[in-house]
């Protein structure tokens, strides 16, 4: 345990405790090191340092506006779309700093599938949606595409439902099916990491349960990082949990420990529902 007293840029003394605990994974795949991020003049992330273990499910929890989505989007540089973005510190993926000037951002994103809060299938057929990452890579081999469609849709537990209407427009699917289609799309090109930004917040409880089941099935094959508002969900699906508050990483560790014996008072307040 290391307790840190730091003085932030505005000369406010802030007290927070960061717990670095090596979990039972096979070593870190993504490491953030004193990572700070600004949107224009407002700082969204303060000195976040955490290691994300290979092959595990890591949940990011915290109240709205705490920076968990920002952190997730920093990992595949989706934040680049925003004007006036600045960063400090480093995010290392597989040993390389992704904020390095000569990083191939497109190549980085190809190794990380992403699933968004609201299902966002493209207005194309179901199979075209799944093969979109391959189309982007210039793969047109019909057999490869067909295999990918089946493998990805089975991986996303959607195959049985849609195998007879792969040519139908994806917008005709239900919300939960659309989200699983987005997961299929994210894993179609076989990425290393699956980033999920509140994937169940627009879904009903049954669809949510299916997605959670799916995450459990995908565990081990992909390194999954999931942002969630729902603490039960974090407890159910994740191996490690990070609690963030006001742009800072407050506590990070094994999920069972975070939920049973949190070391920070803020974490305890949050996981027990006293605030947030």
């Amino acid at each position: 345990m290391e307790a840190a007293k730091k003085i932030d840029e505005n000369d406010h003394t802030v007290y927070h405790t960061v717990y670095h605990i090596k979990t039972t994974g096979r070593g870190p795949l993504i490491e953030t090191e004193h990572f700070c991020l600004w949107y224009g003049s407002s700082q969204a992330l303060f000195d976040v340092s955490m290691d994300i273990e290979l092959g595990l499910v890591t949940a990011l929890i915290g109240p709205s506006g705490c920076g968990k989505s920002t952190l997730l989007r920093s990992l595949n540089r989706m934040n680049d779309l925003i004007d006036g973005l600045r960063t400090r510190g480093a995010v290392r993926f597989d040993g390389h700093d992704i904020y390095d000037r000569d990083t191939d951002v497109i190549g980085l994103r190809k190794r990380m599938g992403m699933v968004f809060q609201k299902p966002n299938p493209f207005p194309m057929s179901i199979s075209e949606n799944v093969t979109y990452p391959l189309k982007v890579d210039g793969i047109h081999d019909k057999t490869v595409l067909a295999e990918t469609v089946e493998r990805a849709l089975q991986g996303a537990a959607l195959w049985e439902e849609v195998k007879d209407r792969l040519k139908d427009n994806a917008l005709g699917l239900s919300g939960g099916q659309q989200q699983r289609l987005c997961i299929a799309r994210a894993i179609a090109a076989d990425p290393d990491v699956l980033l999920m930004d509140e994937p169940c917040s627009a879904l009903d409880p049954i669809a949510t349960a299916r997605i959670e089941e799916l995450i459990n099935e995908l565990r081990g094959r992909y390194t999954i990082i999931i942002v969630t508002h729902n603490m039960q969900q974090a407890a159910r699906v994740s191996d490690n949990t990070a609690f963030m508050y006001l742009g800072r990483l407050i506590e990070y560790g094994e999920t069972t420990r975070i939920f049973t014996t949190p070391r920070s008072a803020k974490t305890e307040d949050y996981v027990t529902g006293r605030f947030g």
Partner: protein, 586 residues
């Protein structure tokens, strides 16, 4: 429900009153007054809509009705006037007017009293008398008080001619190569048969003069230009030139010979044609002899069955749509103008679509949204408000004189000082209109791009697509219906624009279509005719605006139909594209 609310509020107020404090409550009555309900505004809004709709439909009804009835044959009336003369013509319209004192002086007592009873007003009718070559006027007013009798004789002809407008009167005799047919022998069959042959001769002359002699002239001209080109390049004393000149001389002589043969053929047919004439007589008895081939059609408007009238009506429409204009555009067809408008609009759309879409793509998808982009955007929006004549001046100065002049100097030096591209033409007119309508396309495309949800772009980028791939695969297909809408607006505006075109290539009468049988088949440098300008020309520049009026309506109808047709096509395409995005939960 209102009652219970009122009751509850009243009770609260009462409870407060009991405490004795001077508290003022705003009491809601549960009833709203007229202004709050917005009823008067509703009536105002509905009224505005109704007024607008009424105006549009009234306008369309006026155009469509007048346009449709123009070609329907009207009866010819023979009117006996009180001064003993006769007048024959189509009654075209009548109005109430106030006769002057000089006119009243010469009237008899009952007529004067009748006018006095109408507070000095009388009714008069405008007759289309035709026979411009005899009367020096096409139309004549006849006041009701001066009309003695009106008849519709079955044997009065309405004859449409190539020159001088229609002739109203009778056929006195046919002169068929020295043989005169008149009186009882002059049957309908004989007239029609002789006319049919005359029309064949007219077409033959036209074919020889326009097609064959035209082709010979074209080859002669290109030979001459080829030679001049060599002279310009290598000098007139070079061996190449002398060799080419010798070769060319033989060819030119052959062509000259062919030309003379053709001219002789044409002359022979013309001489033959001159022997077939028809002698016409107007209602007053004055005669007029014209070649039969000068007649477009003979009609007996007072002696036609309904089906004959319909046939005549359709044949006039066919002539209007497929023939060239004659009589200073006041008669004949509008095919060159229709074709010119169509080709120009399509070319404009082809030019403006990629240009506007690319500009909007950069502005919305790539450019950093800052002050500079805002300024550019404001400028683009303001460009849409620049008067179109300014674009015409710019088009003439920049496209025709600078761009076209440069092209001429570089590629057609042998034709100078005659300009090829260095003057107004179809290409420059299309580009000028494209420039005029590009703000419309940019604004519409930007809106369409902005309407593509950000989540689509993020989804694509997260799949590892580059920005360009995202635009190509996701953004553009999704924005296409909106872009099409912008294009439709641009086309509607461009097709109806006349003012700038007058400067950059539209002419009153274009001798050649921009499309013909000579290489390179499509001649974008040629000046062309345009329906909008045609309307202006026929209505306001012709010798008799009264005679041009029906043509104005018909041409307007045609222009509106053409714009509607182009728009309908684009809308059909857009709706096909749109259908893909209609289903969906979000």
């Amino acid at each position: 429900m209102y009652k219970s609310i009122t009751f509850a509020l009243t009770r609260t107020a009462t409870a407060a009153d009991q405490t004795g404090e001077a508290v003022k409550y705003i009491r809601r009555t549960g009833r709203s007054d007229l202004s709050a309900r917005g009823e008067p505004f509703l009536w105002g809004l509905g009224g505005a809509l109704a007024f607008g709709t009424l105006m549009i439909f009234g306008f369309l009804a006026l155009i469509v009705w007048n346009g449709l009835v123009t070609f329907y044959p009207k009866p010819v009336q023979v009117v006996a006037l009180s001064d003993g003369t006769l007048l024959a013509g189509e009654p075209s319209r009548s109005e109430v007017y106030k006769p002057g004192p000089q006119v009243l002086e010469h009237l008899d007592e009952p007529a004067r009293q009748a006018i006095a009873a109408e507070h000095g007003y009388a009714r008069r009718t405008l007759f289309r008398t035709g026979n411009f070559d005899l009367y020096n006027e096409d139309f004549r007013w006849a006041s009701d008080f001066s009309i003695v009798s009106v008849a519709e004789p079955a044997d009065v002809y309405f004859i449409e001619r190539i020159e001088w407008g229609p002739f109203v009167g009778f056929i006195r005799s046919l002169n068929l190569k020295g043989e005169t047919v008149s009186g009882a022998a002059l049957s309908r069959q004989i007239i029609e048969e002789a006319h049919r042959r005359a029309v064949q001769r007219r077409e033959l002359i036209r074919e020889i003069e326009r097609e064959e002699i035209g082709a010979v002239n074209h080859r002669l001209n290109s030979e001459r230009l080829k030679l001049k080109r060599i002279a310009l390049k290598q000098g007139e004393n070079s061996g190449t030139y002398r060799q080419a000149a010798a070769e060319s001389l033989a060819l030119q002589e052959a062509l000259q010979g062919r030309y003379h043969d053709l001219a002789r053929d044409a002359q022979a047919v013309k001489a033959e044609d001159a022997q077939y004439t028809v002698t016409l007589a107007e209602i007053g008895g004055r005669g007029k002899t014209i070649p039969l081939s000068q007649v477009v059609r003979f009609t007996l408007p007072n002696d036609m069955s309904f089906f004959e009238k319909i046939r005549l009506y359709l044949s006039r429409w066919l002539e209007f749509l497929t023939d060239e204009p004659r009589e200073a555009n006041a008669e004949g067809g509008v095919m060159p103008a229709l074709f010119g408008t169509f080709v120009m609009t399509v070319l404009m759309a082809l030019a403006v679509a990629p240009f506007g879409v690319m500009a909007a793509l950069y502005l919305r998808e790539y450019a950093k949204q800052g002050k500079l982009v805002s300024v550019v955007r404001i400028c683009v929006n303001n460009l849409a408000g620049v008067p179109s004549i300014v674009y015409g001046v710019f088009g003439l100065g920049f496209f025709a004189y600078i761009c076209g002049g440069t092209i001429d100097r570089l590629f057609f030096p042998e034709r100078l000082p005659n300009p090829v591209f260095g003057t107004g033409g179809l290409l420059w007119a299309s580009l000028t209109l494209a420039l005029l309508t590009v703000p419309v396309v940019i604004v519409a495309t930007e809106e369409a791009l902005a309407a593509v949800p950000q989540s689509m772009r993020e989804g694509s980028l997260a799949c590892g697509a580059s920005r360009w791939q995202t635009i190509k695969y996701i953004v553009l297909p999704r924005a296409l219906p909106g872009i099409m809408t912008g294009l439709i607006l641009a086309m509607a505006r461009g097709a109806g624009e006349v003012a700038p075109l007058m400067l950059v290539g539209v002419v009153k009468l274009a001798p050649e279509l921009p499309l013909d049988g000579f290489f390179p088949y499509i001649h974008l440098e040629r000046s062309f005719m345009h329906l909008g300008f045609h309307i202006f020309d026929v209505g306001f520049q012709s010798r008799n605006s009264e005679a041009g009026k029906p043509m104005v309506f018909v041409t307007t109808l045609l222009l509106i139909s053409l714009v509607a047709f182009l728009n309908a096509t684009a809308i059909v395409i857009r709706n096909r594209l749109k259908r893909r995005f209609l289903i969906g939960h979000f």
